[in-house]
């Protein structure tokens, strides 16, 4: 009986540990593909070297909506021509400014269309509470794309929104975010 018992414990443990390794290490490796931004945009160059402030590019419009990432046209106000010798800037000017195309930036916190998120309603909260702290980075962080859902790994889930709302005493009624 004792011999039989020990024979069952080991396979169980093997199965359990194996599954835990697969689930917590291999599964995330397989689930997310790693992507880089189409242009290696350096916040560091703009913020530290050029002394620009965040809201020069990421500003609120007159109607209170958030402009998000600047358009190619806005970038071209300075980069209508190649200014330095950074190959990323050259690529940006040649492939996007000259062709009048928008850069397909990868948005780390992109929410689905059925989520109405107002930046101006969250103005008092630090940007980095939700967004990666890219302000001083020379190279944008790797973008992890969920192979199944297509969203970024960093995209905030509804429970995170609700938790923060609950902690701050904000309403968690459906229509607050889903119009």
């Amino acid at each position: 009986m004792a011999k039989g018992k020990s024979c069952l414990v080991l396979p169980f443990l093997f199965g359990l540990v194996g599954a835990l390794i697969v689930g917590w290490w291999l599964f995330p490796e397989l689930l997310y593909s790693k992507k880089t931004q189409p242009i290696r945009f350096s916040h560091k160059v703009h913020v530290e070297d050029q002394g620009m402030s965040c809201d020069e590019c990421h500003s609120y419009r007159e109607d209170g909506s958030f402009a998000g990432i600047p358009t190619t046209e806005q970038c071209a106000e300075c980069h209508s021509e190649v200014q330095g010798d950074d190959p990323a800037e050259k690529k940006f000017v040649e492939e996007y400014v000259e062709k009048g195309k928008e850069v397909p930036w990868l948005i780390y916190q992109k929410q689905p269309d059925n989520v109405f998120f107002s930046h101006i309603a969250h103005k008092g909260i630090k940007c980095t509470t939700c967004h990666p702290d890219v302000g001083h980075m020379d190279t944008p962080p790797v973008y992890y794309e969920d192979r199944i859902s297509g969203y970024s790994k960093q995209t905030m889930k509804m429970w995170q929104c609700e938790r923060c709302h609950a902690r701050r005493g904000a309403s968690n009624a459906c229509y607050v975010c889903h119009k």
Binding site: C7, L10, F12, V22, G23, F27, S65, G150
Partner: protein
Amino acid sequence: MGLDRRGFITFLVGGAVGTLCTPIPWKTLDDVSIWSQNWPWIPKLQYGKRSQVASVCKLCPAGCGLSIHKVGKRPVVAQGNSTHPLSEGGVCPLGSCSVRLLYRPARVKGPLKNNNGKFEPISWDEARRILSEKLSSGKAACISGDENGSASEVLAGFLSLLGSEDFYFMPSDAQVSAYTWSQMGGKGQIGFDLENSDYVLSLGADILSSWGTVVRNQKAFATRKGKYIYAGPVQTGTAAAVDEWVPVYPGQEGVLALGIAYYLLKMGKGATIDGFSEVKNFVLSKYTPAVVEAKTGVKINKIKQLAQELVAAGSPCVIIGSDFGQGSGSFDWTSGILLNLLLGNVNKRGGMVLLPEVKVVESAPSRASLSKNVLGEFLKNVVSGNKKIDVLMVYDANPIYALPQALQVQEAFSKIPFKVGFSTFLDETAVMCDLILPAPHFLERYDDAYTPFGSGKVIYSVAAPVIKPVVNAKSTPDFILEVAKSLKKDLGYKSFEDVLKAKASAVGADFEDLLSGRTKVSNKWVGQNQLRLSVEILANGLVPDTEGTFLAPVARNYLGNTTQALTPTEVVVVRDSELKGRDLYVQVNRTTAKKLGLKQGDKVKLQGAGREFVGRVNITETVMDDTIAVPLGFGHEAWDEYVRGKGDNVFKVLSVVTEKGSGFQVWNKSQVKVVRA
């Protein structure tokens, strides 16, 4: 030690327990649920800065000012421009669809060449080379559907330089009125000062639904100073809204005008026109109340009452027009104009006014002289061989669909060896052409509208492109200027934008102001010399009716018009009493249905002009006795799945007669034989 069956199962159990303690099942389930909400065909919102820019609608000749809402660089919604005098913030059902029409499946995606029935894409350079070559050695003609834009002026001017006078507008009340007025010795474009009138009698013109400056008419009606009366065979949007609907047999509104004129003459009213005494005697002897009652179906007392009310009004206005915006003749217009003259309200506040014409392309003939060119006559001459044309250019028009006697039109087309369609959409005419050169949607091009027909004021509006063309389209007048250059013909302008700048300057407006949505408005009226009128035209109303039931085509903006088929957006607003499945409903009242032995839902054939129209019967009291009403806008054979094969085209059974004294082709008095299908 080996792994036996029990051990293996235990391993699996361990694995299952372990898996439950990992993100695998929970994350996968969550991701799959999100994945299932993100199918590639679900449109994604495109964010951007919201803004509004001004434009001018060119989907019909009303020339309404639009305010286009944009998100980023994309237009998203069209609203009426509140500062534009022809829209005052209003928009019609067709105009409200204008943004979505940018993406209509039937759009021509780029220049196409017909290679033995198969359309092949070509470049614009090749298109220019082919057209230049054809025009350099052949006689050219042009049909235009743009009755108030400078693009038509460029095309007409180009034809003149090529030595051709064969420029034709698609038939419309604007054309017939201009022709009639010039034959009477009148000058300027006829307009109606509705805003200042205290009694408006609309004879046929469906002013609140489809005729003339529709949105402006509605605004004037909303702030009316007096009564509005509509005379026509069907309870249209106008008939339903105005103070009184006077049912009149289709196309007999001119006779009613003369019936009213009879009473005015009896009251001693007169007009200073050559041949007045002859006209007076003719009307008093031929258009007696009994004759008019028999021809129009309007009771004598009602005719008398209308005459008395018009005389009692301070500033009456009589509007004339075909029930469906086309097919009227000089008789209808002469009768209506005579009525206005007898009322003494010509070039008077609140009456019929005459507005000046402006032309900036030197080689282009005046609009008054272009209005003498009758398209139907031209097509007849092409068929008979009296007119030989090598190249036909069609701009913003769909004559194959929107003209009566379709077989004759098709035959004329087949006799012209080379046809070019400057069309935004793949319509019935475009598919018969040898070259299809896509015109940009009006939101993608410079365009203008000078004093749309029906307006009571001179109004000039210009619009700049709101978006870059979403297909490989090119502004037609700009392309024509390029072709002219290659043929060494000088129209005096390098670009169409320059033409518009010149026109702005000619009307005394600032071009940039116009682009920002402001309009040039002027109350200048054209003074008249001695007018003349012959009784020969007036005799047309006495021609006996033929056999059959009166046919009343009905134009409704939400069903499209002669150049724009029912829009994909408006498919859902087509009523069950208009179209069910693929069957179109014809409308008759209970008395007529009983007389014809018809029941609700019966399938019937309307026979006229040697062809047949098929539809189902809908019994409704919105149509007068002995009349069968049929909506226009169905029976398309081209375009896209939203309209193709739905219902039948009533143009097929409209009978055309040549009017005595004017030579105009008239088809607003058609009669059909109704038989069960």
